[in-house]
């Protein structure tokens, strides 16, 4: 069930925003197939009546008061930015949602 084609690997890489060289993609596709083959064993024991656990502790309702805490301030917020302009993060053009 778990052989990964190059196309599937390329699709995953696009979803994950990873630019991969062709040989890297081939190598990864092979390894993913092997790893997924090994981990697919979980399905063998995952019976219908077993509830999933997403968190190790059964905590609920942890919330904070609606109170202000100090923000970083513009200078500190932008200090790590690869590029900034006019108090904002400067990023490359965003591919249109608008036509």
């Amino acid at each position: 069930m778990a052989s990964i084609t190059r196309e599937e690997a390329a699709h995953l890489a696009r979803l994950a925003r990873l630019d991969l060289a062709p040989d890297e993609l081939d190598h990864l596709a092979g390894q993913l197939g092997v790893i997924l083959g090994a981990v697919a064993a979980v399905a063998d024991v995952a019976a219908e009546d077993v509830p999933p656990t997403s968190h190790p502790l059964p905590l609920t309702n942890v919330a904070r008061r609606d109170e202000l805490r100090p923000s970083l301030g513009q200078a500190a917020a932008l200090a790590g930015a690869p590029a900034a302009e006019d108090g904002r993060f400067r990023v490359p053009r965003i591919l249109g949602e608008e036509a």
Partner: protein, 504 residues
């Protein structure tokens, strides 16, 4: 005919479009909650601050930072659900919606997926004396994104921009997304029902005091899903989702446009594509979003940094008991209290000024006066500005103050309009404007008397006619006094003074 006609005159008229098809709508409204701090961190939600001045490691998505839920946001979401007659989940979770976008600091949105806080319910929408029940599918909690400015393009839009500038102040502001069930109402009222739904939902949110719901500030945003099916058919047609329809008027216009466009497509034998479309306020058309080579796969999974929300039943019942009055009974009560006729009430509700009138009355104005301002002068101004009365920069308290100055004789109606103009122009409150523009009616009897004397002296012929009993001639003298006092006098009192002096 072009499928994506940008010239709406190419399209069939709405009446023509719905002759053969029935529209089905689905409305998704995002409400920014009016909490002091953000959904998952202690940064301020105040609007209009310096860019990136209200951010912290959490809402900036810095490595290592963690979210903690704002309890007031959860309470607001529960109250919204209760007011919409939804079932409040006894246990629900946050989930991560994974997709990359530069205005989203973590490249996932913390939202809710298959376990929303509120499920089912309805809102009864009144329109033209009729009530339409809009079913609610769900309401869930999530966080807002940052805001991008697109630089370099001619239009300031994404298209053609060379780069973008991102401000994350808005990122992490709590949102509640309210999703309707498919809305199937008669075609002739469908767009108006969509608009009325959003307007009345906004009224509900204001009554709940969970949001200021100002559409022009993006605190209330609507996505409109529209599909057509042949008249009499059961299955739904393919829908489009028009994003960011951000005024009441636009909600109606966008639905009308999509119905006309889709009817044109179907009528010419084409197929409607399931897609995201963008609304253009200026041209009144929708255009398709960037086509994606592959369907989005958001890879939702339970947010591991947050624990489940399990609203305690006793607490939920307490919130239910404390809910403000149901909108329909509120309307009935107010109509009785205000002694409005059915027509007056319908107009007030229809214009979306019910709450404004109510607040103006609460601030001391007589109901009919409050109604007169909001349905008259202010509604006209809103229409001129392409906005809604509620979005005008004037508060009910200010309107009430203006009305009280009129009632006290300090302002005449024309002066009151000038004062409101000043308020709308941002010159300050009514009293400041009265003082600054020197607009008060001259009620100093000495000054009035002197002006009257001058008018009589300056117009001896007219004065003589009045003395001879031709009282209608007094109008010219009143006019002269008003002219000298730049309108700032009570015309009735001026008339009295003139007649006193010229009594035979």
């Amino acid at each position: 005919m072009s499928v994506d006609a940008t010239v709406s005159t190419e399209l069939p008229a709405y009446e023509e479009a719905v002759a053969g098809y029935e529209p089905v709508m689905g409305l998704e409204v995002h409400v920014e909650l009016g909490t002091r701090s953000k959904m998952f961190c202690g940064c301020s939600t105040a609007f209009g601050a310096e860019p990136n001045s209200q951010v912290c490691p959490t809402c900036l998505g810095l490595p290592g930072a963690l979210p903690v839920v704002n309890e007031v946001a959860v309470e607001s979401a529960v109250r919204i659900g209760l007011a919409l007659h939804s079932d409040i989940a006894s246990w629900c979770r946050f989930a991560r919606k994974n997709y990359f976008y530069p205005d989203m600091p973590k490249n996932f949105q913390t939202s809710q997926y298959d376990e929303p806080i509120a499920v089912g319910g309805w809102l009864d929408v009144e329109l033209g004396g009729q009530s339409y029940r809009v079913g609610i599918e769900r309401a869930h909690m999530e966080e807002d994104t940052g805001k991008s400015l697109h630089v370099g393009g001619a239009t300031g839009r994404i298209h053609g921009a060379e780069h973008s500038l991102v401000d994350y102040n808005r990122a992490g502001i709590p949102l509640v997304e309210i999703v309707t069930k498919p809305v199937e109402v008669p075609a002739d009222v469908a767009p108006a029902v969509a608009r009325a739904y959003v307007a009345q939902l906004r009224d509900l949110l204001l009554a709940l005091e969970v949001s200021e719901a100002r559409m022009e500030q993006g605190q209330l945003r609507c996505d409109a899903n529209v599909s057509l099916r042949p008249r009499g058919a059961r299955p739904y047609g393919t829908r489009t989702e028009t994003k960011n329809v951000n005024s009441l008027r636009s909600v109606e216009r966008a639905v009308v446009f999509e119905v006309r466009r889709q009817a044109a497509v179907l009528g010419s034998g084409g197929t409607v594509h399931q897609e995201t479309r963008h609304w253009h306020e200026d041209t009144g058309v929708t255009t398709p979003g960037r086509s994606k080579e592959e369907a989005e796969d958001y890879r939702y999974f339970p947010e591991p940094d947050l624990v489940p929300v399990a609203p305690e039943p006793g607490w939920v019942e307490r919130l239910r008991a404390e809910l403000p009055e149901d909108p329909a009974s509120r309307r009935r009560r107010l109509q009785t209290e205000w002694r409005f006729s059915d027509l007056e009430m319908r107009d007030t509700v229809g214009a979306g000024v019910l709450r404004l009138v109510e607040e103006t009355v609460a601030a001391g104005a007589a109901p009919q006066s409050a109604r007169k301002w909001w349905l008259g002068e202010l509604a006209r101004r809103a229409r001129e500005d392409g906005t809604e009365p509620a979005e005008l920069p004037v508060t009910p308290a200010q309107v009430a103050r203006v009305q009280s100055l009129v009632a006290a004789g300090t302002l005449s109606d024309p002066l009151a309009r000038q004062v409101l103009e000043g308020v709308l122009a941002g010159e300050g409150g009514p009293d400041e404007i009265v003082a600054a523009r020197g607009l008060a009616v001259v009620s100093d009897e000495g000054a009035l008397g002197a002006a009257v004397e001058r008018a009589i002296e300056g117009n001896p012929d007219v004065a003589a006619k009045v003395r001879d009993g031709k009282l209608a001639a007094a109008g010219a003298l009143i006019g002269a006094v008003m002219k000298e006092l730049r309108g700032q006098a009570d015309a009735a009192r001026v008339r009295e003074l003139i007649l006193e002096r010229l009594a035979p």
